[in-house]
């Protein structure tokens, strides 16, 4: 037993040290980042973290916000729901005012309840319509919902391309299922002919079984509503099997890694998304991209990290405007915001936290992996 006491006192001393450390940190404003820093969506997650840190650095150089320095606390949710829930607990306990992220709708949704209970603001690029179903006052979507993309896709398929036989594929994630469901609904409203609706398991690498089944149906188009990690492989395997259908990827396929995974087969892919970072027409976007490139020596992974950055910018803007770091006040301020100039266009939030707007485009991937706008 004697040996136990030094251990106990030592651990008590450690605890008290940690407590005093957290008191000393009270004169900063903490902003959380919940993003997939590792795992299959790592490049999107790191891009969100980079973007947030860049904006915070710029703010701190000007003296911070409300006279306090801003501190970024990052938690890696690995794009997985359970880890996201654990991150949410961690960030809340760290005392953050607002959380930027996560990248996937599933990880965002898993964390939502915890943030709402703690009164911590959350802004995410998750596009799943279910994210605003709870009408949490703490949640602000900084991208556009799946239903908007689905409407656009249906219009493009029926009026633009006039496809006769449509295949819709998704994975099991909340984002992908939600986008596929919304697209199918929009297509049916336009009396389109959907010959197959299927699901693939994200990360399973080999999709030939599903694709062979599809081949026998001789479709005009394969629409995939999942993420780039599977999309790239799907496209490559489609070409290997010689399925002569167009491949249309939903917004989450728009990522440099899609091109790497699809390789030669990437050529001819049609991608539906909001504008890519490099063709954003706004001055603010151009300056941000120059700064980003200077600091990190690469471009952001996709438009999604910029959407998240806009969420952060809106929150910091309202903090300064309302001279308050009370999350209730900030939430009211965010709802009152009208056409706040963002990197990805004007930012306006609806009462349920939805960002108003849209503006999708279709890009055709060229042989040199560059994009050509084919439908607007």
């Amino acid at each position: 037993m004697k040996k136990m006491f030094p251990k106990l006192t030592a651990s008590l001393a450690v605890c008290s040290m940690l407590t005093s450390a957290s008191f000393a940190a009270a004169d900063v404003i903490k902003i959380g980042v919940q993003a997939p820093i590792t795992g299959q969506y790592a490049n999107e997650g790191q891009s969100i973290d980079n973007g947030v840190r860049l904006i915070v650095e710029q703010y701190n150089a000007r003296g911070g916000v409300l006279g306090k320095k801003i501190e970024v606390v990052t938690c890696d949710d690995q794009g997985a729901a359970q880890q996201a829930a654990i991150c949410a607990k961690k960030l809340v306990n760290e005392g953050v005012k607002a959380v930027i992220g996560s990248y996937t709708s599933g990880a965002t949704e898993a964390a939502q309840t915890t943030y709402n209970r703690a009164g911590v603001l959350q802004t995410s690029d998750g596009t799943s319509d279910s994210l605003i179903a709870h009408k949490y006052w703490t949640f602000f979507r900084n991208s556009f919902p799946n239903s908007a993309e689905a409407e656009y896709t249906a219009k493009y398929f029926v009026e633009g391309k006039q496809y006769k036989k449509i295949v819709v594929l998704s994975d099991y994630s909340s984002y992908s299922t939600d986008l596929a469901d919304a697209t199918v609904k929009a297509l049916k409203a336009k009396n389109a002919n959907i010959i197959y609706e299927g699901k693939i398991k994200s990360g399973s690498q080999n999709f030939t079984a599903t694709l062979t089944k599809i081949k026998s149906m001789d479709p005009d188009v394969i629409y995939f509503s999942g993420y780039y990690t599977d999309g790239g492989l799907l496209r490559a395997q489609q070409m290997q099997l010689g399925i002569k259908a167009d491949f249309v990827g939903g917004d989450s396929n728009d990522n440099p890694d899609y091109m790497k995974l699809a390789g030669e087969s990437a050529k001819g892919t049609l991608l539906i998304n909001v504008p890519t970072p490099d063709i954003l027409p706004y001055d603010i976007a151009k300056t941000f991209l120059v700064d980003y490139k200077a600091k990190f020596n690469m471009m952001p992974a996709s438009i999604w990290s910029l959407m998240n950055v806009d969420g952060l910018r809106a929150i910091l803007h309202v903090m300064e405007l309302s001279k308050s770091d009370d999350t209730k006040v900030i939430a009211e301020g965010l709802h009152a915001l009208k056409d706040f100039p963002g990197i990805t266009g004007p930012v306006t939030f609806r009462e349920d936290g939805e960002r108003i707007g849209g503006g999708y485009m279709t890009y055709e991937v060229q042989a040199d992996k560059s994009y050509k706008i084919v439908y607007q």
Partner: protein, 316 residues
């Protein structure tokens, strides 16, 4: 008369009881995680350490408890309080149905079977059976504990609920050690054939250990789902089961301090040194190898069996 294990248990309870007074909510959350996982590790210890059954699917029972609470609350709107009893009973029932036919398997054969059950469990969850489990995403938005209009949602409340659960678990284990059941398990662990020839019903006691361990793990799972208000399949996969298995082996089978040290190394150290979080499997892997070579009976092995005092007297 108190033995060393009881003293350690009491010291731990006193320390953990006052812990919230000294720390902020971030550390309180770490403490809660420790308490919940300590309970799971102890329940694994009942099966693996005490009864000596090679069981590598414990995340299954932990997950069953978590999912029972989540499904009853999210899909059927039951208050959390009402889900506690099912969250203990369902894993116990499943343990009985699942394990009874295979309990006669020995060592490695049983181990493989339990891994199989764990894999099936994850498949069932991911395929969203009856539309209840939410597929690979899991279930979100689990409520907090509410009693008569008060909600126990703060981290301190969560901590003390987990603390009480650990207290109950330690109490059960103490009683187990002193009872006929505990002794029977100990004999089975030491020498199954000898135990059998002494008239101990090996199947019955092994099954008893399984069902008890499953129930306790289920209670911890229920606590886990409320703490994070979300459950998802990847938290209950085979890797987690392996983790619980190794915690017991590395810490020391049937040794209370051993199991607690194992839990501490696996779940608390990574929190303290957050920058090394990704290295934890590396560290734990090396620790596992070194422990097995240098201390094959665990970091803090049990030094005595439950040999009654009157027998020990003569030996001295």
């Amino acid at each position: 008369m108190m033995n060393k294990t009881s003293l350690i248990a009491i010291a731990l309870l006193v320390f953990m009881g006052f812990f919230p007074l000294f720390v902020d909510s971030a550390w309180l959350a770490v403490g809660t995680t420790f308490l919940v996982f300590a309970v799971v590790a102890l329940s694994q210890d009942i099966i693996l350490g005490r009864a000596g059954v090679f069981h590598m699917g414990h995340a299954l029972f932990f997950g069953l408890g978590a999912y029972t609470t989540a499904i009853l609350n999210v899909n059927f709107g039951l208050p959390i309080l009402a889900t506690w009893v099912p969250a203990v009973l369902v894993p116990m029932l499943v343990a009985f149905i699942m394990v009874a036919p295979i309990i006669h398997l020995r060592g490695d054969y049983l181990l493989v079977a339990t891994i199989g059950f764990n894999i099936i469990f994850i498949q069932v969850l991911e395929n969203d059976v009856f539309g209840l489990t939410g597929g690979p995403n899991g279930l979100f938005g689990i409520d907090v504990v509410r009693v008569l209009g008060y909600d126990f949602s703060s981290q301190t409340h969560m901590y003390y609920m987990a603390f009480i659960l650990l207290g109950i678990t330690l109490f059960i284990m103490r009683n187990l050690d002193k009872s006929k059941f505990g002794r029977a398990m100990f004999y089975i662990h030491k020498d199954e054939i000898a135990a059998q020839s002494m008239g101990i019903n090996v199947r019955y006691f092994k099954l008893y250990a399984f069902i008890l361990g499953a129930g306790i793990a289920g209670a911890a799972g229920s606590m886990f789902s409320v703490q994070y208000s979300a459950v998802s399949p990847e938290a209950f996969n085979v890797t987690q089961s392996i983790m619980f298995f190794t915690i017991v082996l590395v810490g020391g089978s049937a040794s209370l301090p051993g199991v607690l040290i194992g839990t501490f190394i696996m779940f608390v150290l990574p929190e303290m040194f957050r920058e090394f979080e990704t290295a934890r499997y590396l560290v734990f892997g090396i620790a596992m190898i070194l422990t097995m070579i240098l201390r094959p009976r665990g970091i803090w092995p049990v030094r005595f069996g439950n040999i009654p005092d009157f027998l020990k007297k003569g030996v001295k």
